[in-house]
């Protein structure tokens, strides 16, 4: 007895001292590894061609059924969104059940049933498996596509689009797809309010009856089931599903941009830029490069030990996370890397992405990185096997893509064979450093300018339609007065401008819809002499004249009475040749609060308000200082209409520059004015009027 006590005391001392002896600086060694096992499955094909895979796993009393329709991608064109609506509609009523009845039955069992354009998924406790399968089979075979449900979904889809307009990540994903695949490719097509309008319930029905066929479908049954019982049930409930030839489609591989480009979507409210950079890749499932690409991606940006994460987050603290990913696809896959970063580091973040792309393409990765990435991937493969559903998704992939039967059993072997050289080779092959799409959704006025160095900067709407640049802030120290005086200097100097006292001009005016261009002749001598004639085929069709106090206006030879306001307006026009000179007077207030892009160049945007409160917006090119565009609003009987004029082709005349071409947009109409003759300070007398 006593002996025992001593013995146990000694033992406890030994145990204590063993604690004291742990060397914490030594990382523990792994024990013997247990290879993850891919569970067995049974498979059979029903008479109608439906291929079935069953995994029996009684760990939990539940079962999942998932049906996958294997079809080529469908191009929807003007009806983009139809396929998605059709998928959602399948669950919304059958020939014998209303949507309410389906909801009620499914919910009562605590089960779930969801449908989508290429499949149906159901799960429940195993005690309800037959009931759930029966309803699932009903929607697979007998969906009724009620008009009312269609209308509801349409409205919801529109609301969904609406809500995405303010979600920068959703915008980025859609625009990125449109950019890399092209909007005319099934993967780049975009559902919009317009395309939704073009869809009918018949389109959806048609899609369903064409593609929901057993001969191109796979069904996975996983869980607390007996394969023999499953076979019996499937024969009973899906045996009558009729097969039919399903159309196949082929598509051209999307054309990459010839050079790296920046696709920018403006969102003024953004406090972060959402960045996504990448390209399409030609990498189908089963391709022998896949494991090497996986390893390469893991090293580059596969997780929180990837280079992108370590660089952009742990080193630079630009972001909460930066990752890369790739997608293998029989048609066209993609590679991309992304992060959300605060506004002021947007361009620095893109620089780091490109740096890491370049590094993995030009420098061999270290053996340690290679091993770490392989272990990481092997571990994630092992973890994925925790879910019994993984096994059936392997089985379906093998059947679908014609992979060898032991494809997944040999995965770890193939993974471990990847070399440093392989990684560099696939980095070069699949990261197209010269023709990337750099997508950014963010506050354009603050961040877009810094992105021009990466490639052509193009602006897009959230629907991936080209658009103009958002406004940019004015650099410190630049005022309206400075922009104005720079403008005068660019024209030739204020003195020379002021010295221009008369002008004779002939211009050709092209108006769409008019058989021939009009001719405009303008003669002016300040102050008080003014004449403007518009001629068609040499005939005067319109004329305005001012001679001192005497004003007149004719149209098609008929005198047109002028009210006081019109006379005053003409006097004002006649009083000056370069009316911008007037802006120096106190009658005008000038504001300069932002910049904008005009024809791809930055311009100062100046608002000019006269003493009557009339406003005009002028755009002065940052570089040349010249006026490049003006905008104003004109009253018409049908309400105000906006007029914008672009000024091009400045040429010097008597030491003063003048825009020889003006493009005027009045409402939907575009009028082009080409100056053919111009003379400053020539002789002008009343007889010329």
């Amino acid at each position: 007895m006593k002996k025992n006590i001593i013995f146990s005391a000694a033992l406890s001392i030994m145990t204590m001292s063993s604690f004291a002896q742990i060397d914490r600086s030594v990382q523990p060694q792994a024990g013997p590894a247990r290879e993850p096992q891919i569970a067995e499955y049974e498979s059979f094909t029903l008479d109608n061609g439906l291929k079935v895979f069953v995994v029996e796993n009684h760990k939990l009393p539940r079962v999942t059924f998932s049906l996958v329709i294997d079809r080529d991608p469908v191009k929807e064109g003007q009806k983009a969104g139809m396929v998605q609506l059709a998928g959602d509609l399948i669950r919304r009523g059958t020939n014998s059940r209303t949507k309410d009845q389906i909801d009620e039955q499914i919910d009562f069992m605590g089960a779930s049933l969801s449908t989508y354009s290429t499949g149906v998924y159901a799960s429940s406790l195993s005690k309800y498996s037959e009931e759930v399968l029966e309803i699932m089979a009903d929607v697979i075979m007998n969906a009724s596509f009620p008009q009312e449900e269609f209308e509801k979904l349409l409205t919801q889809a529109k609301s969904g689009l609406e809500s995405q307009k303010d979600d920068p990540s959703a915008i980025m994903n859609k625009v990125f797809q449109a950019m890399i695949y092209g909007k005319d490719h099934p993967y780049g097509e975009m559902m919009t309010e317009q395309t939704l309008e073009n869809i009918s319930v018949e389109d959806c029905k048609n899609y369903y009856s064409t593609y929901f066929r057993p001969n191109t479908a796979y069904l996975a049954v996983v869980g607390d089931v007996k394969p023999r019982k499953v076979k019996k049930l499937l024969k009973r409930y899906l045996g009558d599903w009729e097969n039919q030839v399903v159309p196949e489609h082929q598509y051209k591989f999307p054309v990459a941009p010839p050079k790296t480009m920046v696709a920018f979507v403006n969102r003024d409210a953004s406090v972060q830029s959402v960045i996504k950079i990448g390209n399409t890749i030609d990498l189908e499932p089963g391709n022998s490069d896949i494991e090497a690409v996986r390893v390469m991606n893991q090293i580059l940006g596969g997780g929180s030990s990837g280079r992108l994460f370590r660089n952009l987050r742990e080193d630079k603290a630009f972001t909460y996370g930066a990752y890369s990913s790739f997608d293998s696809d029989p048609l066209v896959g993609n590679f991309s890397a992304s992060a959300s970063v605060r506004n002021d580091v947007t361009d620095s973040a893109v620089t780091e992405f490109l740096y890491e792309f370049n590094r993995i393409r030009t420098e061999p990765v270290s053996e340690e990185e290679l091993e770490a990435a392989k272990n990481n991937l092997a571990g994630s493969f092992g973890r994925s096997l925790e879910s019994p559903n993984t096994v059936t998704s392997f089985a379906i992939n093998i059947a679908r893509y014609g992979l060898p039967k032991d494809y997944y059993n040999n995965y770890l072997k193939r993974l471990s064979a990847v070399t440093v050289e392989d990684v560099q080779r696939v980095a070069n092959k699949y990261i197209h450093a010269e023709s990337l799409v750099i997508g950014v959704v963010g506050r354009g006025s603050e961040v877009a300018g810094g992105l021009e160095k990466f490639g052509e900067l193009k602006y897009f709407t959230p629907e991936a339609e080209p658009t103009s640049a958002p406004s940019l802030p004015v650099p410190d120290g630049v005022t309206a007065d400075k922009v104005l005086s720079d403008y005068f200097a660019a024209l030739g100097g204020l003195d020379k401008i002021k010295a221009v006292k008369s002008m004779k001009m002939t211009a050709e005016v092209s108006v769409p819809g008019m058989p021939a261009p009009l001719t405009m002749k303008r003669i002016q001598k300040v102050p008080g002499l003014f004449s403007e004639k518009t001629l068609m085929n040499g005939q005067v069709v319109q004329e305005r004249t001012l001679n001192g106090e005497k004003a007149s206006s004719t149209q098609m030879g008929q005198e047109k009475p002028m009210d006081e306001e019109a006379v005053a307006q003409m006097k004002k026009e006649a009083s000056v040749i370069f009316d911008e000179v007037n802006y120096l007077s106190e009658d005008y207030s000038l504001t300069l609060d932002h910049m904008s892009m005009v024809n791809g160049n930055k311009a100062y945007v100046m608002t000019v308000k006269d003493s009557d409160g009339e406003e005009k917006t002028l755009y002065f090119d940052e570089e040349s200082g010249l006026l490049v565009k003006s905008e104003s609003s004109q009253e018409t009987p049908r309400g105000p209409i906006s007029v914008s004029t672009q000024y091009e082709d400045y040429q010097e005349n008597n030491g003063v520059k003048y825009a020889m071409k003006m493009v005027q947009k009045v409402g939907p109409q575009t009028i082009t004015i080409d100056v053919k003759e111009l003379e400053f300070n020539g002789k002008v007398s009343t007889s010329d009027l």
């Binding site: 145990t15 604690f19 742990i22 914490r24 600086s25 990382q27 523990p28 060694q29 792994a30 024990g31 013997p32 590894a33 247990r34 993850p36 760990k59 939990l60 009393p61 539940r62 309410d100 919910d107 009562f108 069992m109 605590g110 089960a111 406790l125 509801k152 609301s159 609406e162 809500s163 303010d166 979600d167 607390d224 003024d268 409210a269 972060q272 959402v274 929180s304 030990s305 370590r310 742990e314 603290a317 630009f318 972001t319 909460y320 959300s340 970063v341 091993e371 770490a372 990435a373 272990n375 990481n376 092997a378 571990g379 994630s380 092992g382 973890r383 925790e386 879910s387 932002h594 945007v605």
Partner: protein, 437 residues
């Protein structure tokens, strides 16, 4: 030294399969250990729950618990800066952590032959994590980016923050785990060192392990790595109740959204209270599945909403019963609110049908079974049940607590808590768009 308390089999035997067997005990330093063995996949989930969340923060130092969580990936005396994550991943594991109002939770899922690695790493984190200025400066920016990404740059992103601010004035739930930008900016190294000493002790932690383990071997390894970690000061949890709301709080928030959104929060009891179970069931009557009352009425029938949800947000000291509705295009918030109020009134005036009651129980049963399908989830549930409920075996028996709730209880809790003067109403409306010239 080891007080093994084998869990008693108190389940009703409803689930022959899926019963979670476990063992739990305390080390001398107060570390609570829970072990569950499941050999079906050669992986192991190792988790440590520290009983510290944003409710343990001082006002003016909001966001500390979560900020600190980031710092605990920086390394330790024996793990270099930046190596914590790669060490797990390069050995085939996955890891992460998250912080709530009440606790901070760290986990690794490793191949089961790497159990010892995970234990070593978690013990390093508990014993002598490296907390330095470089880490603080870096993670400060990272956390601010997290805040921007998850809350500021996202439609309706501020709703939870506002909901807590108005629901719990002058209480430890007034702020949410992400904290304020201002406090994040002013967080100092010495405060974090102090925070570490105060809360990251074995006596404030639960080590929960599930997976392909040998129980006895695991106990030895736990003793090896954790037994010599000294006990820390006793952690006093804030336990007083929040003051009741005196009147309805209502705010209209112009935001960068296209569709108006309505968020209503009612103050309700803490998650361990029997009434929390009744409220949980009530939320399912309202919005679980497409046959639920709010979904059917608002999304299906009158199509006033594109999305609707009701859920019981149960916390350790209090709870919020929250309803969310996002308006369909062209629909206004007033009609959404009227419908939700009507449906809540209906619950108060007529008992839910027996069929609805049964439906809710069936759906709870389904979720109950499904929730135990992964090792990481099991490890976390075991720790939660121990820490909050003081009853780890609830992982097997919690469904019984739901079964005890009657239809009358559901009506009663609606009457008791879902009242106008006990709620916060947040209305998100599209901001006037600034016109670009």
């Amino acid at each position: 030294m080891v007080a093994a308390a084998l869990a008693l089999a108190t389940g009703t035997g409803t689930f022959a399969q899926g019963r979670i067997e476990f063992e739990e005990y305390d080390l001398d330093n107060g570390l609570h250990v829970i072990l569950h063995q499941d050999k079906s996949t050669p992986i192991v989930a190792i988790s440590v729950l520290y009983h510290v969340g944003s409710k343990n923060e001082d006002p003016g130092k909001t966001g500390f618990a979560h900020f600190f969580e980031h710092l605990l990936f920086e390394g330790s005396e024996n793990i270099g800066r930046g190596e914590y994550m790669s060490l797990v991943q390069s050995n085939g594991g996955a890891l992460n952590a998250n912080t709530t109002n009440d606790r901070t939770f760290y986990y690794e899922i490793l191949p089961s032959n790497q159990l010892e690695l995970g234990l070593w790493m978690e013990s390093e984190r508990m014993l002598h994590a490296k907390i330095d200025q470089v880490g603080v400066d870096t993670q400060r920016e990272v956390v601010k980016e997290e805040r921007r990404q998850r809350y500021e740059n996202r439609p309706y992103g501020s709703f939870l923050e506002k909901m807590f601010m108005y629901s719990f004035p002058e209480y430890v739930y007034e702020w949410t785990p992400i904290g304020s930008m201002e406090d994040l900016n002013s967080a100092k190294l010495e405060d974090f060192l102090d925070f570490y000493k105060r809360f990251y002790s074995p006596n404030n932690a639960t080590l929960s392990i599930a997976g392909d383990i040998d129980i006895e071997k695991t106990k030895e390894l736990i003793a090896k790595y954790f037994a010599d970690i000294p006990k820390g000061p006793e952690v006093v949890q804030p336990t007083m109740d929040p003051k009741p709301l005196a009147a309805e709080k209502r705010e209209v928030i112009p935001d960068n959204v296209q569709l108006p959104g309505l968020f209503i929060g009612y103050r309700v009891p803490k998650e361990t209270n029997d009434d929390a179970y009744a409220l949980q069931m009530l939320s399912r009557v309202l919005s679980d599945g497409q046959s639920s009352r709010l979904y059917k009425k608002m999304v299906d029938q009158d199509q006033s909403a594109v999305q609707v949800a009701a859920f019981n947000y149960g916390l350790e000291n209090a709870g919020l019963f929250i309803t969310v509705a996002i308006a369909n295009m062209g629909k206004d918030i007033d009609s959404l609110e009227a419908t939700i109020n009507q449906e809540i009134e209906r619950i108060k005036t007529e008992l839910i049908s027996e069929k609805e009651y049964e439906k809710v129980l069936n759906s709870l049963e389904n979720d109950f079974v499904t929730s135990n399908s992964r090792m990481a989830g099991i490890a976390e549930s075991l720790a939660n049940y121990h820490v909050y409920y003081g009853n780890t075996n609830l992982i097997n028996t919690e469904i019984e607590r739901y079964r005890k709730v009657s239809r009358e209880d559901i009506q009663r809790v609606a009457k008791e808590y879902l009242n106008k003067d006990n709620r916060v109403v947040l209305i998100y409306v599209p901001k006037e768009k600034e016109q670009n010239p």
